[in-house]
C-alpha cells in the first residue's frame, strides 16, 4: 500500500519537475526543477529495489550533472534583464500540449494494455551492487567496454575542441 | 608680438620678453625672485631690498630686480653666496620685530613671510632683546583691521590708496623699528575699493574684518569664477569650503588677475556678493502651495504650456549664455515669448570710471547678442496676452512695484524659478502657482559676456547639500531642445559664431574672448 503512495508521490514530483523545467523562464529555476525530477526518478528506482541505479542516479545525475549545469548557470550570472523576450511562449505551450494530446492518448492506451503485476519485494540480492557488477562483467562485458571506449573518445574530443578554441582566441 | 631677448640666470641662458623688469620677466619663465614691496600693479618702490640680485660684470654688482629692466646678455646671479646672504639677512631683519603668531594670523598659509622663511632663511632668531610692542587690533575702517606688529613696512597699501584710488588715507610714519602704517586721525579708509589692501598686503598686517577668524586659508577650495555683481565681470576666486556636517558655503571672494578686464582688483561691493549666495536662499519646490518633487512641477508646467494660448518666459540678464539659449530654444519650440525686461538692474550714476558699472546685470551684452527683447513695452504687451508666465530668476521686484506685478499677472499661472525669495515681490505669495529653487551662479558653470563684449567662462565649485536644478535642466525638463549643458553650448555656438571654435566652454582662454570686433560692435 505505502509503496503505491510513495510511487504516486515520486511520479507526481517527477512530472511536476519536468513541467517546471519547461515552464520556468529563468534557467536557474529550470535547472533546479531538473534536479527535482532526477531525485524523484531515483526514488522510483529505489522502489524497484534497484539500489545501485538509485545511488548512481543520485551521485551522477542529481549530484554531478545537474550540479554542473547549475554551476554553469551561476557562472553566467543571468539576471532578469539578460533573459530574452518571450512574448508568445504561452501560445507555444498550449500549441505544444495540443499537439501532444494524441501521443498521450496513445501512451495511455499502451499502458492500459500492459497486464497488471502485483508489487512485491524481490529477492534480497536483486539490484545490489554485487549482482549488478557480476552481470556487467559477465553477460554485458563487451557493451560495457565499448561504452567506456566511447566515453574516452568523448573526453579526448572535448579536450581537442577546447584546445582549438584557445588557439584561435590567441 | 613682444620682442624676445636672451640673458643668463645662474649661468644658464633663458629667453624673456623685453621691456620688463627682472622680477616680471623671469617670473614668466618660472624663475622666482623674492620680493615684498614690488607689485605689478603698483610699480617698483625698492624699499624692502628682498629682490636684490647680483649682476656679473655689472656696475653696480648688486641691483634691486624690481627696478632693473631685463637687458640682452645680462648675467643675473640668484644663487650666489652673497645673494643668499642678502636674502637671509633681509629676512632676519623682517623677523626682528615680527610676532610669530601664525597660529592666530589669518594670513597663515598664504603669507609671503612664511613662504620665504621656509625657502630663504630657516634659522632660529638670534634676537635676545625684547621685541618692540605696537598696536595690535587697529580698525582702519572700511572693514580693514591692522596689526602693526606684523607689518613689514612695504608700503603697498599706502601706494594703492595714493595711486589707484587716489584717496591716500594711509601713510608710513616714523623711521626704524618705530615705522608703522597709520591713517590720518579721524580719516579712516573710506572708498569703494578699500579691501584690496588686504589682498595686497604680503603678510598678515592687514586683514579683513569680514573674513577674520572664519576659516584657515588652507581649508578653502578655490573656484575660478566671474563676479555677477555688475556688468564689468571682474575675474574672481571663490573661496568656499564644506565643513563636516555642514553646508558648502563661500567664505570670501578675491580678485583674480585679468589685465583685459579688472587688472588685479575688484570693488568691495563685489566681494560681499558671496553673502547672498550663502544666506536666504530658496530651498523648496512648491506646487499650489505644497512641497512637491521637481518632476511633478515640470510635468504640470509642461502641460499648462501646451494648453496655453500664449506663454511668456522672463529671463534674467545675469543668466549665462547657455541658460539664455536653453530658454530661447524652449520658447521657439512652444511658440512662447521671451523677454529679458530688467530696467531695474540699472542703477543710475552708481558707476565710476574704474571698475563699478551702472548696470548690475552680468550678461546684458549676451542678452543683446542673442537678440532677446528687453523693452518694457514688449514685456507689458506679452504679459497681457500670456496665460502662463515663467520667470527664470529675473528679480522683477527691482523693476516693478508689487502692485504692478500683481496687476500684470492677475489671471496668469505663474512658475517662479528663482535663487532667492522675493523676486516677484510679495504680490505672488497667496497665488496658487509654482516655485522652483534654482542653483545660483557659484554653483553652475557657464559663459557670460561683460559690458565690453568680452565673453568669459566661470566655474561653479560650490556643492550645496540641497540639490537644486539649473535653468538649463528646467528648460530641458519642460521640453527644450537643449537637453543639457553640452547641447546648450552647441546652440550658443550656432548663435554666436565667434565662439564656434571652442569645443566646450572650458576651452575659452582664461583672459576671455573679446567679441567687440564682431557681433557686439554692431
Amino acid at each position: 500500500m505505502y509503496i503505491d503512495t510513495l510511487f504516486s508521490i515520486f511520479a507526481l514530483t517527477a512530472v511536476a519537475g519536468s513541467l517546471g523545467l519547461v515552464l520556468f523562464r529563468h534557467p536557474m529555476r529550470s535547472a533546479l526543477c531538473l534536479a527535482v525530477t532526477m531525485i524523484s526518478l531515483a526514488g522510483i528506482y529505489a522502489l524497484l529495489s534497484a539500489k545501485l541505479i538509485f545511488l548512481l542516479q543520485l551521485i551522477v545525475y542529481a549530484g554531478a550533472v545537474t550540479a554542473l549545469i547549475v554551476f554553469i548557470i551561476m557562472f553566467l550570472n543571468l539576471r532578469e534583464k539578460d533573459l530574452p523576450e518571450e512574448n508568445e511562449r504561452f501560445t507555444y505551450f498550449i500549441g505544444g500540449a495540443v499537439v501532444l494530446i494524441p501521443v498521450a492518448w496513445f501512451m495511455i492506451k499502451v499502458m492500459k494494455s500492459i497486464p497488471e503485476v502485483k508489487n512485491s519485494i524481490v529477492g534480497n540480492g536483486f539490484g545490489s551492487i554485487k549482482e549488478v557488477g557480476q552481470m556487467l562483467f559477465t553477460n554485458w562485458l563487451v557493451p560495457f567496454e565499448i561504452i567506456s571506449l566511447l566515453l574516452l573518445v568523448t573526453l579526448i574530443g572535448a579536450v581537442v575542441l577546447a584546445g582549438i578554441r584557445r588557439e584561435s582566441n590567441d | 608680438m613682444t620682442e624676445m631677448i636672451k640673458l643668463f640666470v645662474n649661468g644658464e641662458e633663458v629667453e624673456v620678453e623685453s621691456g620688463k623688469n627682472l622680477i616680471d620677466a623671469l617670473e614668466k619663465v618660472g624663475i622666482e625672485i623674492p620680493h615684498f614691496c614690488y607689485h605689478p600693479a603698483l610699480g617698483a618702490d625698492g624699499n624692502c631690498r628682498m629682490c636684490l640680485v647680483g649682476i656679473e660684470e655689472g656696475r653696480p654688482p648688486v641691483v634691486p630686480a624690481c627696478k632693473t629692466p631685463a637687458k640682452e646678455g645680462m648675467k643675473v646671479l640668484l644663487d650666489a653666496d652673497h645673494i643668499k646672504k642678502i636674502q637671509h639677512d633681509v629676512m632676519e631683519l623682517e623677523f626682528i620685530n615680527h610676532p610669530t603668531d601664525c597660529p592666530i594670523c589669518d594670513q597663515a598659509g598664504e603669507c609671503k613671510l612664511q613662504d620665504y622663511y621656509m625657502k630663504y632663511e630657516g634659522t632660529e632668531s638670534r634676537m635676545r632683546v625684547p621685541q618692540v610692542k605696537k598696536r595690535k587690533v587697529q580698525d582702519f575702517g572700511g572693514g580693514v583691521i591692522h596689526d602693526q606688529e606684523r607689518c613689514v613696512a612695504c608700503g603697498r597699501c599706502v601706494r594703492f590708496l595714493r595711486q589707484i584710488t587716489k584717496t591716500g588715507e594711509l601713510g608710513l610714519v616714523n623711521r626704524g623699528d618705530d615705522c608703522r602704517v597709520e591713517f590720518f586721525p579721524g580719516r579712516p579708509i573710506n572708498n569703494r575699493y578699500g579691501l584690496n589692501v588686504v589682498d595686497l598686503c604680503p603678510v598678515g598686517a592687514l586683514t579683513s574684518a569680514d573674513f577674520r577668524f572664519k576659516q584657515r586659508a588652507w581649508f578653502l577650495k578655490r573656484a575660478e569664477s566671474i563676479c555677477h555683481g555688475c556688468s564689468k565681470g571682474c575675474n574672481i576666486m571663490v573661496d568656499h569650503n564644506k565643513e563636516k556636517y555642514e553646508d558648502d558655503i563661500i567664505y570670501r571672494i578675491r580678485p583674480r588677475h585679468n589685465e583685459q578686464v579688472n587688472g588685479w582688483f575688484m570693488c568691495d561691493a563685489g566681494r560681499m556678493t558671496y553673502k547672498s549666495e550663502n544666506d536666504n536662499r530658496l530651498e523648496e519646490c512648491t506646487l499650489a502651495g505644497t512641497v512637491r518633487p521637481l518632476t511633478d512641477i515640470l510635468a504640470d508646467a509642461q502641460s499648462r504650456i501646451e494648453k496655453a494660448s500664449k506663454a511668456l518666459f522672463l529671463v534674467s540678464p545675469s543668466a549665462s549664455l547657455e541658460q539664455l539659449v536653453a530658454v530661447q530654444a524652449l520658447a521657439e519650440k512652444t511658440g512662447a515669448a521671451v523677454s529679458a525686461f530688467s530696467d531695474g538692474y540699472i542703477v543710475k550714476d552708481d558707476g565710476d570710471d574704474f571698475l563699478i558699472k551702472d548696470d548690475k546685470a552680468a550678461n546684458r551684452t549676451g542678452v543683446d547678442l542673442l537678440s532677446i527683447a528687453k523693452s518694457r513695452t514688449h514685456f507689458d504687451n506679452m504679459a497681457k496676452e500670456a496665460d502662463v508666465f515663467i520667470n527664470f530668476d529675473n528679480d522683477l521686484s527691482r523693476s516693478l512695484s508689487e502692485e504692478q506685478i500683481g496687476k500684470l499677472f492677475k489671471d496668469t499661472w505663474v512658475l517662479n524659478a528663482a535663487t532667492h525669495p522675493g523676486h516677484l515681490g510679495t504680490a505672488m505669495a497667496g497665488k496658487a502657482g509654482a516655485s522652483v529653487a534654482l542653483r545660483s551662479w557659484s554653483e553652475y558653470h557657464g559663459v557670460v559676456v561683460n559690458c565690453d563684449g568680452i565673453a568669459q567662462k566661470f566655474v561653479g565649485g560650490v556643492m550645496k547639500n540641497i540639490e537644486r536644478p539649473d535653468i538649463v535642466e528646467i528648460a530641458a525638463g519642460l521640453g527644450s531642445p537643449a537637453t543639457g549643458a553640452a547641447a546648450a553650448w552647441a546652440l550658443v555656438q550656432k548663435k554666436i559664431p565667434a565662439l564656434a571654435e571652442f569645443g566646450s566652454f572650458l576651452e575659452l582662454p582664461a583672459e576671455g574672448v573679446n567679441l567687440t570686433d564682431n557681433e557686439a560692435g554692431k
Binding site: - | C102, P103, R216, Y245
Partner: protein
C-alpha cells in the same frame, strides 16, 4: 642609507619538505604542544583578565583628550586649527572667534571631538603649538549607547584633569 632587510634562508627546497605532510605534522606538533600545555594547566595563558585586572596605563598612553588651561582657568587653545588640519580621522570640529581677555586675539568658540571617529593617533597633540591639547587623562574606556554622546565639547574637555604629574608626562614623551 639602505633599508634594514633581514634575509631569511629560502625554505622548502629539500625533498622532505616538498612532500609537505612532514612539515605539516611538525607544525601540528607545535600547536599541539601549546594546546596540551594550556589544557593541563591554564594558568600560563598570556591573557589579562580585563575587567577584574586593570591594565597599568603608562604616561605616554593616548587616552581621552583634554584641553589645557592657563593658570587663571582660560583655555590655552588659540584656535589655530592645526589639530583639525592634521587629524587623519577628521574628527575635530572647531569654530574660532574673537578673544577679549587680552591673552591673544583668537580663541575657540566651540571645540568638538567626535570620539566615535577618533583613532587616537595623537597627531593633534603633536601638532598643537600651544600645548593646549593632550591625551594624558588616562581614561581609556568610554562607551555610549548613541553617537551623539560620543561627541565631547570644549567645556567637558577643559574640565578634565591630567592623569599624571607634569614630570611623569614629560618622561612619558621621552619614552615614546
Amino acid at each position: 642609507m639602505a633599508a634594514k632587510v633581514k634575509q631569511l634562508p629560502s625554505r622548502g627546497g629539500t625533498p622532505a619538505e616538498k612532500v609537505y605532510l612532514i612539515e605539516i605534522f611538525k607544525g601540528m606538533g607545535i600547536t599541539l604542544r601549546h594546546f596540551l600545555r594550556n589544557l593541563w594547566d591554564n594558568s600560563n595563558l598570556y591573557v589579562r583578565h580585563y575587567p577584574e585586572v586593570q591594565p597599568n596605563i603608562p604616561a605616554h598612553w593616548r587616552g581621552r583628550h583634554r584641553l589645557l588651561t592657563h593658570s587663571d582657568g582660560t583655555p590655552k587653545c588659540v584656535a589655530c586649527f592645526m589639530c583639525q588640519t592634521n587629524c587623519p580621522a577628521n574628527c575635530i570640529m572647531i569654530k574660532a572667534g574673537e578673544r577679549t581677555d587680552g591673552i591673544t586675539e583668537k580663541m575657540p568658540v566651540s571645540f568638538t571631538i567626535d570620539l566615535a571617529e577618533c583613532i587616537y593617533c595623537g597627531y593633534c597633540v603633536e601638532a598643537c603649538p600651544e600645548d593646549a591639547i593632550r591625551m594624558d587623562t588616562g581614561i581609556y574606556a568610554f562607551t555610549s549607547s548613541n553617537r551623539e554622546e560620543m561627541k565631547i565639547e570644549m567645556d567637558e574637555m577643559l574640565s578634565l584633569k591630567g592623569g599624571y604629574t607634569e614630570e611623569e608626562y614629560q618622561k612619558g614623551l621621552e619614552d615614546e
